[in-house]
């Protein structure tokens, strides 16, 4: 097991190394002039020269890379070139808890919807109930998350005025303010995610229900709920774990868009604002962090899967 974990951890770090290199070189190899883009129309020759010097673009690309890379390893991603010129690391450190809070709550909401929906669909396979659940799963997958966010604001914030329409309140200022600000965005992000998990649980449950040990358990005279929840569900959840890692990508992508609807200054909003302000150090940093979250979530999923199902370690 240790050997398997070691290989996976090294693999993840190699991927992150490559990602960092790619993120750096993309901006420099692409045709066009990022400096001109950053200065937009307002750039004079002097401003341009100053900007090139400030960003270190006057040095050869390999030197720039080593400087950036060395900084990155020490947690220094440069400074924002827009507004207050804050260090990128500080901006990211402030925004990360917001995105993680949103992702966490979306994940919980998704599971609350998906697990019962998946179990009921499988237990009532090909009935009207199953078809209804399947239709709602398709609906959840097809609904743009930012649109769902807008609908939720129209109903719960603008009309009923139950919940705030925008903003974020840290958990240190109380559980309810934190929850009330995050619940609508979390539903918007979690719905599509829950559709995927529910369909996955359904098909995985159907596989398990066909197994011999299920027939044996049924012949012992166990009740339907014991059969489903004690015997089938734990086995059916094993393959679901793998898809959670992949579907986490949807969660992060959803958060990027939905944070912008609710004006939550998380990673997604920092990324999009960075792009709109042509603040490239911030954009690089945000993309790097998003990809790191994604890579390490998948690493965690792989290790978890290896722990639960020993066959995986040796393949």
């Amino acid at each position: 097991m240790l050997d398997y974990m070691f290989r996976r951890v090294i693999g993840a770090f190699l991927v992150m190394l490559a990602v960092a290199t790619l993120v750096f070189f993309m901006l420099r190899l692409v045709p066009g002039d990022p400096i001109a883009a950053m200065l937009a129309d307002a750039g004079s020759e002097e401003a341009r020269a100053a900007m090139i010097k400030r960003l270190g673009f006057d040095k050869p690309v390999p030197v720039q890379f080593l400087k950036w890379f060395g900084g990155m390893l020490q947690g220094d991603l440069g400074n924002s070139i827009y507004g207050s010129n804050q260090p990128v690391t500080q901006i990211l450190a402030e925004s990360l808890p917001r995105t993680l809070s949103l992702a966490f709550l979306s994940f919980v909401i998704a599971l609350i919807i998906a697990v019962p929906a998946g179990i009921i669909s499988a237990a009532k396979k090909n009935t009207a109930t199953d078809n209804a659940f399947s239709f709602f799963a398709f609906l959840g997958l097809s609904m743009p998350d930012f649109w769902l966010a807008i609908l939720l604001i129209i109903v719960f914030a603008a009309n009923l005025q139950w919940l705030p329409a925008i903003g974020y309140s840290p958990i240190s200022e109380g559980l309810w303010p934190w929850f009330s600000h995050l619940i609508l965005p979390s539903i918007a992000v979690g719905t599509g995610f829950s559709a995927i998990i529910a369909r996955m649980i359904r098909s995985s449950m159907l596989e398990v229900l066909k197994a011999d040990y299920m027939r044996f358990a049924a012949s012992k005279g166990l009740s339907d709920s014991t059969l489903l929840l004690r015997h089938a569900l734990p086995n059916a959840l094993i393959p679901v774990i793998t898809v959670i890692g992949i579907a986490f990508a949807l969660l992060i992508s959803g958060a990027v868009v939905v944070e912008n609807v609710f004006a939550i200054k998380g990673l997604g909003r920092v990324l999009i604002q960075g792009i709109l302000n042509r603040d490239y150090p911030v954009v690089q940093g945000a993309v790097l962090i998003v990809s790191a979250i994604f890579v390490f979530t998948n690493l965690l999923v792989d290790i978890l899967y290896g722990l639960i199902d020993p066959r995986i370690r040796y393949s």
Binding site: V19, G32, S142, P144, A247, L276, V290
Partner: protein, 288 residues
Amino acid sequence: MVIKKPTENLKGISRFRFIFSRDKKAPVAISVILIFILSALFAPWLAPYDPNEMTLDMMSAPSKMHLLGTDDLGRDLLSRIIWGTQISLFVGISTVFISLILGVILGVVAGYYGGWADMIIMRYIDLQWAFPNFIIAVYLVAVFGTGLLNVIVAISLAFLDDFARVARSMVLTLKEQQFVEAARTNGSSNMRIMFKHILPNAAAPLIVQATVCVSYAILGEASLSFLGLGVSANTPTWGLILADGRSFISQAWWLGVYPGLAIMLIVLSINFLGDSLRDTLDVKENLL
């Protein structure tokens, strides 16, 4: 005795007809998709008003004059949504076309030749795997800039790895089969074996993948437009109409409802079609 599924004896069109006649959602999905395609093609004749014409009739609720109401600049919402269909469908279909062709070439070459070619291509694909697709598209738009062509390139590249993976795994299974061996003995060139013999047999999962990707591409374009990273601020696209209307939804709910409804309807129909195709072509479900 081996009992065959009723569909196993049917080939080609008749198989499609059989399954589509039993699957009630497929005809509905196809009809909705056709309606959207027709409104994209005939937008100039179908739209009751010029989509960019500003009038003094601002934020008026849906009425006989304006079936879906007007926005904050007095523009007719229905006309803007009809014209928006053009961009959505064009981006959705063209991006999948590009990533299908490039991805299949990469996947087939990697799977067929193996060795160095496979290693280089797979490392690239693994690297792309380290980013969520939408983040790739956002980053590429950040690098290339906004605009129709850039959005198409960004979304196409984001989906490239999905097609390459499917194509490669199909080729790996197929290349050991006897008909490939036979073609090789016949003296067929590698090119001919790859694209004439192997590819047609790998078509089914690729068709399903392409259908699903059209819906993701439409969602992707709408999200980019919504974030202000889309085609242009003057072209009515569904995502942009929603973004423009966002500030007014407390007074004018229709601005927040109808454009999103259009996106959901087309994406839902394409997903249903993809699901039916998956059953018809007997492709194992792959959720992402």
